[in-house]
Symmetry: C4
Subunit: 201 residues, 4 copies
């Protein structure tokens, strides 16, 4: 299968997942005792989680293309690794909704936050696994560009390093769900910032 088909399908899944995130933001029911303004303000975790997930998926999309554009062909393993990466992205509308609903619940906030950052960690791991394989698979014969051993190592190190904040965010979830979300937000801001853009793959 040519890489163009892999890209088109991946683009589709990522575009749908990022757009479905909006279903997590609910219109408050009319006729309740609270004013609309109060109700909208009250669901700020939905907006925060939406923002973090949207930017994070957008960044993974950019990185996905950087990874795939280096390939000159695919094989069965690439397709399956890509499928698992897409799955880890496609479940984010669920984990985003989960953390938004439970961020302030005394029962469940820590678990919900851990699942949220854990799903981002999973996405990072799936990305890292695919990155490693595309760089080294079939003795590097999948690549369509020249990369020195040092280049490859640098890419892999950068990807591995990107896992650390999500691991930390998951580890601190039992302490504070807010801190977990803040770390995930900081990662998104880091990659989206014009200052630190070098961080992109």
């Amino acid at each position: 299968m040519p890489t163009s088909r892999l890209e088109a399908f991946s683009d589709g899944v990522i575009a749908i997942a990022i757009t479905l995130l909006v279903l997590e933001i609910h219109v408050p029911e009319t006729g309740g005792p609270d004013s609309l303004g109060h109700q909208l303000a009250d669901q700020w975790p939905s907006y925060a989680a939406y923002l973090v997930s949207f930017v994070t998926i957008g960044i993974i999309w950019v990185n996905h293309h950087a990874m795939v554009s280096r390939l000159r062909k695919t094989n069965h393993t690439v397709l399956i690794l890509n499928l698992f990466l897409l799955m880890s992205i496609a479940i984010l509308p669920f984990t985003t909704d989960l953390v938004a609903e439970y961020l302030r619940e005394s029962d469940g906030q820590h678990l919900a936050a851990a699942i949220y950052s854990g799903s981002l960690l999973l996405m990072g791991l799936a990305f890292y696994a695919m990155q490693r394989y595309t760089l080294d698979g079939e003795g590097g014969d999948l690549l369509g560009v020249e990369l020195s051993e040092g280049d490859r190592r640098a890419i892999k190190q950068r990807n591995a390093l990107g896992l650390v904040p999500y691991a930390v965010a998951t580890a601190v979830a039992p302490l504070s769900a807010y801190l977990t979300l803040a770390i995930c937000a900081a990662v998104a801001a880091f990659y989206a910032s014009p200052v630190t853009r070098a961080g992109l793959d």
Copy 2:
């Protein structure tokens, strides 16, 4: 990243957002005291908001391609600006639903209308920011077409001018939610009209 990938991903997000709008139109529950005809007529704000948002997103899609087709390459800033533009489009199913639900609620109609036109204003601002940057970024070196200083200024002015009605619509929301929606509808009709098509970017 070549602009073709940027276009494909943006097309996907915009196509999904415009199609998800339909989820905002609800099938009335069966077995209620009111006739189906009465219930369907009663939710006319849903149809009005749907129509306005659908046409508006369709027009922004046309303009998005006009903007991107002028580029010969992208950079990190373009990608991030585009991501924020897509986010401002992707939240429209929510703000459209919000204004449809609250247009006639004495509590909340003004705020809902302000948020709706505000989200269109935000979309216009995100578009304007990306337009400015693509015209001037890297000293104009992102462009693949020849544009005189006057051409660039004219495009930016036209975009900036397009923000005015949304700003006005948001400003009048405290007076009348209906007026706000009417202004947004008029903008959509203006750009969709065969007479005024020159207004398109």
Copy 3:
């Protein structure tokens, strides 16, 4: 704008609308007095409406590409006519759900059926309007293929003829909602049948 972009965006919207139809088929609630088999059998109108809408959208997609593939360029009017055609397709998940929910309700079945076939009629009209314009617009200068006056007339007549059954289906809705749905189903079967495939644009 090149026709390839028009096609890609239209493909996206049509693919999403056709896939969103599934949200209309509901999983029966667990724990009710009726068996699952009974409940699933009871919602047969959902399956019938799904089938009719899915095949109909599939056929309009085929015809859309036949229409667009004849073009060598687009203009503002084509884009706007296409946008209204896409809107008429994008609302089908709503009208399909409506007729499925109300097909057997003594209150509302006739109106729901009329709205359903009416939405298909609207889609046909939007298609016909775009077809007419692409064939004759700018003095036929939008076309990239040679078509005799007779060819053009034949295409337009075929399209106009395709509107008749939907008009009839809408007209008989006050008599029988089932008959309306049956006519729409027959149209879908007619175009999908290998015997009558000449009916495709």
Copy 4:
């Protein structure tokens, strides 16, 4: 119609269906008597069904492209067969939700499991019908690659063989819904496994 358009539309529908699966995983309601952890653990059938359906759709996508990439043109029959294949994929979000909700319900679990594996069997049959037709249709003249009689027979046999586990899974549904799901999971694992990748079309 060129095969590229068929692929693009099919990619769109398959990408949307696979991503919509996530809507089947529900965020537990806040404020209930059970802890979030308990509630999340309690809905493990949702995760299991999600995983099986996601991988299965991913594999059918790979096989779909292998099938279409052999074609040099399409005809009306190919388009209609493809439409029914897409429909069988597009209903999977419904049947996946169904089996997830009813897997442990004493009333309905057998029927729900039979419908789930039956929908996968239907998908396999639709794939097989299209495969057969594309290999033999118009006297093999649809093909753009050279295939010996033996090659064609081998492909068809492999596809027919792939139907067997789904038929078995459906047949055992009256005995055990869990066994049905386990067989479907085993098929997905078989095709996704690096060891057995030869099983892919």
